[in-house]
Subunit: 517 residues, 2 copies
């Protein structure tokens, strides 16, 4: 067992090292260093893969004697990872790396030019390789899930891709969830559109970059993000990265004329970082010291960003301080900001979408991926399918592919099966929130008094500490008593929209009184 | 040859990766990450060593067919490195790593407490291991240097340690150089002390940290430091590090009440960085893409820091701009600053010493190292030897060991044989400067007009581009027509002291006119 742990520790060191190289690349690296850095990252990742996929890992697993629950989890998770790592031939991995490396550059050009046909052959290549990969991984899923696992043939491949990001999830279940979301959200968004618009001008007032930076950091610190074991830097796209439990870093970007970018970016990433910082130190330098699934990870970022950071008591608590430091907010109230940061507005770009319409973007992306992998949608037909989908879900149609199906980088990276986890995480966040409220009582009062430690403590106890030693499904079940369920989040969304926009026939005031939250 | 290059490229990637981890450790890393980072660095360095010292390198060397001068140099240098890497058993390397890891912490405590006896057993252990190492490396030196190499037996071990930092150097030659320096410098320092003191109050005026930061960066940029392939960060101890020719970074520290720390720190490190940035891109990702010796490296930092940055024309050129940005310098002249930054003042701490007395500190450290390795000085007697030496060389005696023999970290790191390269580099800088003046003409006029590109161009041509493809001795000989020679620097030092302090019987004014420079 010690030999296994030492072998895995070396591999974890290399993975964390690659993460340091990547972090530097996105934050501080001088532009001229791009080529050299690509070599370094690829060398370190290759060595980590070779060490892990080598016969040594299998041998050490076979001869390891587990001395307790933690050792058992370590062996289980390592076997699961190894089954995947050894299943894919080096040639396929190299072909995918080459295809995505090319596709990434082509995608960036195609987006600027809004030229789908430029990107299409590269996506086709990535799809072909993804299908090969899925077919190689399907037996692993079958083995793990047992004889009861009998997916629709058309979805078996997507299951294998989805499983990379959300272990144990099934395409059919995800599709069912999205059906439920669609049925509720489309009318909810229409309802918001039928009401007087929210006054969102405060969002666009100039706030100096330094002030934005400080506000975000201070709130993150109040949430419990430990800056002795983390830090924040600037990057073009916000992300969280872990170099170990004691070094979890976030990044943000700052738009002086749209403060939610930095503030909610920081709170979102801080939510991810609180998860990684909260993993039991006993798991350090093992593959268990990581988020258990992307869904659980996203539930943590969404919870702090939305359930906390977009709540009315949050704004009431922090507003006076913000106002003191942002001279131009003197004519505003806490409720003005609460309402503005909760406006619902169909729009074209996912990453700029509000909390509610966001999931209709994800739904569309998931649907198209699933159809392409199932062979029911040709790559050439994606732009039309995208535009039709946007119109029917959100009532808007992009004028160009750059603002449409070309807006997101993920496909060019080969990340097919990734998108649904954004929404799964959101649904989980609401389930966890309701379970937390059962234990802690009045969540509004907790936020109003800034007792974020109570929230963090509950999450540490029920989610964070386990790392990968428990599966996402297990954590959800143990913490909430139920499996994935869109109900709690739909309740939350409905209440939020009604609170901000009023319900039919109600006046503003009475709706706010009735639906405080 | 391609297989050899590819193998060595992987190893270089790992070494550069370790350098990134170390850079982050000193600049941005949160304190809580110390333990995890130690693991990561040690894993990456260990894998790089294992890959290099493996039989594969030897096999690839044996079957490689050099296709030109560069390939030949690559094979030669790789063989030389491999002879050393394979000579030291893994146990010894591990014991040294453990001994220094402990010694580093103990040294820090001992220095604060000024308690030599606390550190002494750790130094003894490091000396014992260094002697073992030296004895293992001596046959390599003998093989490389041939039958004419017949060192004094007492110096053979120190030769092997010195060779790690300054390939090909001999203890006897270094001792001879220091004898010459001592004979000239002790009276020169006494001469300065006998003259009216330099008005150094301007050095201690408050200059805001941001202003200091910008001034250093701008001068470094004017010297030719390419910030598209580099950057500057803050760290407790300034250093330069390379992650490849296209990513060479420096650090500095800033004392708001003593601007030379940051300004000359930046210019010194920029000199190192200009060297690494100037290596021929054809050497990228090979072990040739590095400084050829510490002496040559230090010659580059000293040249930009002192020959350029402490010259009178430098101050005359930049002073008006500095004055504009430092409001409190209005009563000063360029010559006030030139003189203040060239004061000569015996002092206790090496890193705070002036350009002239600095080398007497190094001389003492070299002498004690040599005596300890030769078995003529006991560890217990070092404090007394230190104090006696300081008194006889500089006329000052530390009151505590913390300000005396415990002041420097190097011994605790196992870096024995390192110190002399500080002085060798200084001597080389003056030899290069004189050779440059032969080619370029009036160096004062060049500095006065800010034509730093001419200086950089000459150094690129005669020093930088070769990397390790030529030895330090070869570069020196090709560039200057002579071997290591303290004469040029002693001339420079004498002229500088006389210019700043006047010569006996001369008035200030006539001495300045006579010795402009």
């Amino acid at each position: 067992m010690d030999a296994l742990r030492s072998h895995l520790a070396t591999i974890q060191d290399l993975r964390h090292t690659a993460a340091v190289l990547e972090w530097d690349q996105e934050t501080h690296m001088p532009e001229g260093s791009a080529e050299g850095r690509t070599h370094q990252i690829s060398t370190v990742r290759r060595l980590a893969h070779e060490l892990f996929a080598s016969g040594e890992t299998a041998q050490l697993l076979d001869s390891a004697n587990a001395r307790g629950e933690l050792d058992e989890a370590l062996i289980l998770v390592t076997r699961r990872d190894l089954a995947r790592a050894t299943r894919l031939p080096a040639d396929l991995v190299a072909e995918m790396a080459e295809a995505t490396s090319r596709a990434k550059g082509v995608w960036a050009e195609a987006r600027v030019q809004s030229d789908w046909s430029h990107f299409a052959p590269h996506l086709q290549r990535i799809l072909d390789l993804s299908i090969q990969k899925a077919d190689l991984l399907r037996p692993v899923l079958q083995e793990e899930r047992g004889p009861d696992y009998t997916p629709e043939p058309a979805d078996a491949r997507y299951d294998a891709l989805l499983d990379e990001y959300e272990h144990g999830a099934s395409t059919a279940d995800v599709a069912e969830v999205f059906r439920a979301l669609r049925a509720e959200l489309v009318p909810l968004v229409e309802h918001a559109a039928s009401r007087p618009p929210v006054h969102d001008e405060p969002l666009y007032r100039y706030v100096p970059e330094g002030v934005q930076w400080e506000l975000g950091l201070e709130v993150a610190q109040q949430f419990g993000y430990d800056f002795a074991r983390g830090r924040q830097d600037l990057s073009a796209h916000p992300f969280t990265t872990s170099f170990g439990i004691d070094d979890v870093r976030i990044t943000t970007r700052v738009d002086p004329n749209f403060f939610p970018t930095a503030l909610y970016g920081t709170l979102h990433e801080a939510g991810h970082a609180l998860y990684e910082q909260g993993i039991d130190p006993a798991l350090a330098r093992t593959p268990l010291a990581d988020g258990t699934s992307l869904g659980i990870h996203e539930s943590q970022s969404r919870l702090w960003e939305n359930q906390v950071g977009r709540s009315r008591p949050f704004w009431r608590r922090h507003f006076a301080d913000f106002q003191d430091r942002i001279g131009t907010w003197m004519d505003l109230t806490a409720d003005d900001l609460w309402r503005a940061t909760n406006r619902v507005q169909p729009s074209l770009i996912r990453v700029e979408a509000d909390e509610i319409t966001y999931h209709l973007h994800v739904l569309l992306r998931f649907t198209l991926e699933r159809e392409m992998i199932a062979g029911r949608l040709d790559v050439a037909d994606v732009p039309e399918a995208w535009n039709t989908g946007m119109q029917s879900l959100l009532g808007v149609t992009p004028e160009t592919a750059g603002d449409g199906c070309l807006q997101d980088i993920h496909w060019s990276l080969g990340a097919i099966g990734y998108f649904p986890t954004y929404t799964l995480g959101t649904l989980i966040s609401a389930q966890l929130w309701d379970a937390m409220a059962q234990d802690l009582g009045d969540m509004e009062a907790i936020i109003a008094s800034g007792e974020y430690g109570a929230i963090l403590g509950w999450l540490r106890e029920h989610v964070h500490r386990f790392g990968r030693a428990r599966s996402g499904a297990q954590i959800l079940r143990d913490a909430t008593g139920s499996d994935l369920d869109p109900g709690p989040w739909l309740d939350y969304a409905r209440k939020k929209v009604h609170a901000v926009y009023g319900v039919d026939g109600d006046s503003w005031a009475s709706s706010l009184d009735a639906m405080d939250g």
